[in-house]
Symmetry: C2
Subunit: 413 residues, 2 copies
């Protein structure tokens, strides 16, 4: 079944990549119109789906992410406006001429057909397709089964938006059946130019291990905050709370705080008090537990795992070097932060931590395409190859070098 | 054993990435000095190795690629000079400020530790390490067993060059034992940031399939020349001969010529005559064989395989669309060429062919880091992710975003 979607996507992508940037932007404008015109229908389909999921026992963060609201739709439409206003990622790159007169021109071109496997967060169908349309790619969406009806409807709206702009409908498609076999089929869909998994660690690891098509690893974030002895402790507490409590279920949330021995007492007692009403459970090493007897004992898995919950690991360190070594060992190359007013400590942390985004005196929660001003994101890359951090338009392109000659040959003339 | 090399490489790379660009260039200058100072020794070690390989039965292209000469060393040294003069690939990228005052700065940083598995072409140890040193990376070289002594000596010279510039020796290392187990170990060397296979299709496919570390697929080139009805036939013959005969054993050599029906007779007879003395064997479809009865019958493998020899597949096509369809089916996204004086045909070919480099009226043999002016290449990427075409300095880098805050938080203030 997916082979047919792929063939349709390839054909549609040829039309899209030949369209100029303003035509591709028209699709995004048309989709914004459609989100407004069909808002009642979208919310009704989504609400029915939410009720079914609730009846099936879905609760908490998993239920919450399934819900679309008027406000959420307006935000997603705003994101499309931001994306439409960004420069066209396709087109000119370096030009140079060889001594023999051969003219070379490296241009940026779409990757082709992108597959996206995601969980039951229907807004992803709006933001990801907005980026692929703008960058001249076709996309095949595969959502979690709870969000299938909403995603199917949003896909139809994208297809209508493409038609309104005079472009091929099948540049946006989705897998309309919930069976897991289609996710597996997608991982082996020869001809797919890129497959992006977006969701929890389990999904991502499965895709990275199993896929035979090109994959970008996204989103597992075991993020650390290092509170230096020269930290403004009020700022450190505020950044810790934003990182742990703001939205604990996401990859840019904080999981571990490392605190300098010299400020352990002052910081830990204040942080504990500030987070107490939020229901945070502390997991501490022996030194932390001497100061916070309420903390449970932290073990190896506490350092290594991404809680994605209101749990927080805490450890006392001798200073910057120990903090850097801990992050090097347990970090997942996502987002790491230091709070300090010491210039050398801050600069050294930025220089030496190997992660997509490194923060000095700010919350790790800013690692996000919307926050970064990309209007959307197709995922957050935690690998070094191709793209790193929030993936916007450029991550969906590759290059091609065009060579204009007058009969140049290399060895035989 | 490789774990020790990896640890040494990681430590050395920390020193290298903190060194400024002029210091890294000093290493390349020192290596050029050493190649001159120690030329007699290098050539003697290489000659002994060549004699052993010859005695063991190595001949032809395989033997030839093992040989270093005074001229070849001078060319490699010139390449190092070119690389040293290129702009530093590390450092500044986009800076922007969010509405809340958070300052973001995306910088280009080294990938870390690169592994390179290559065949018995010792010059690779000079050009690849030149690029990794310049870009702040450490490299672990794994050469074919015939070139082991030469590569071991060149590695020592790199280590001396690093020391002369006051940088850590182990930024360039090589596997000094020939056993295949070390190649396998390298493919699974967790912590290696990138593994590049450089050599024949067998080596590359093994690495791509077997490796669990990040890999860039390189170098298989089933390259086509489309001779349009509006071609300058003299130019087409010259480009065909350069592509097929100049150096048939390399990936940017031509493998198939597609000729427009309207010029089949004129082109094929002239091309056959021009290539006759070179010893080219033609493999043709029935229409080609009616014109060139000397051609053997071409079968599916003739369209699909990279000969890397003086064999040439030839096919008559109805025009541009059939040529494009053939290239889409059998091409390997490497280098493709058209010869035509028809503007629409040329532009359409450039637009629609999906390959790293697409040539209009020029030889595919220019797809090469030296030719492109990069001074060297670490390989030619035939994938779309991360890097495409000849990989120079930028392909050996990734990005990191630095975020400078004053206590900014996202949700909780």
């Amino acid at each position: 079944m997916l082979n047919q979607l792929l063939q349709q996507a390839k054909d549609a992508q040829k039309g899209l990549r030949l369209a100029d940037g303003s035509r591709r932007n028209q699709v995004l404008a048309a989709m914004r119109d459609l989100l407004r015109e069909r808002q009642t229908e979208i919310l009704a389909v989504n609400q029915a789906e939410v009720q079914r999921a609730e009846a099936a026992g879905l609760t908490g963060a998993l239920l919450k992410r399934l819900v679309l609201t008027e406000k959420k739709l307006a935000e997603l439409a705003d994101g499309l406006k931001t994306v439409a206003r960004l420069p066209d990622p396709l087109g000119q790159g370096p030009r140079w001429t060889l001594d023999n007169g051969l003219k070379l021109n490296t241009v940026r071109v779409p990757l082709g057909v992108i597959g996206l496997i995601f969980e039951s967060r229907p807004g992803v169908a709006i933001e990801a397709a907005g980026l692929t349309v703008k960058s001249g790619n076709a996309i095949i969406l595969r959502s979690g089964h709870e969000a299938l009806d909403t995603v199917t409807l949003l896909t139809r709206l994208w297809q209508d938006a493409l038609e309104r702009a005079g472009l091929p409908r099948f540049a946006v498609q989705s897998v309309e059946k919930p069976d897991r076999q289609y996710a597996v089929e997608m991982m082996h869909l020869t001809g797919l130019d890129l497959l992006i998994p977006r969701g929890g660690a389990g999904l991502i690891q499965t895709v990275v291990k199993e896929a035979t098509v090109p994959v970008i690893e996204t989103g597992v974030g075991n993020c650390h905050l290092y509170v230096d002895k020269a930290a403004d402790l009020d700022m450190a507490v505020k950044i810790l709370r934003d990182g742990k409590v703001g939205n604990p279920a996401v990859c840019n949330a904080l999981e571990t705080v490392l605190v300098h021995r010299d400020v352990k007492e002052a910081f830990l007692t204040r942080a504990y008090a500030a987070l107490e009403d939020d229901g945070v459970t502390w997991h501490g090493d022996p030194e932390v537990r001497r100061i916070l007897p309420q903390a449970v004992a932290a073990d190896e898995p506490d350092w290594a795992n991404e809680y994605l919950s209101l749990d927080l690991a805490a450890k006392v360190v001798d200073g910057l070097e120990e903090a850097l070594a801990h992050i090097e060992r347990y970090g997942t190359f996502h987002s790491e932060a230091v709070v300090t007013n010491d210039y050398v400590v801050g600069q050294t942390f930025l220089e030496r931590v190997d992660a997509a985004v490194v923060y000095w005196n700010a919350s790790t929660r800013f690692t996000d395409g919307f926050q970064f001003g990309f209007g959307a994101e197709v995922g957050i890359s935690t690998q070094k190859m191709h793209a790193r951090g929030p993936m916007g338009l450029e991550a969906l392109t590759t290059t091609k070098t065009l060579a204009y000659g007058m009969g140049q040959t290399r060895d035989l003339h």
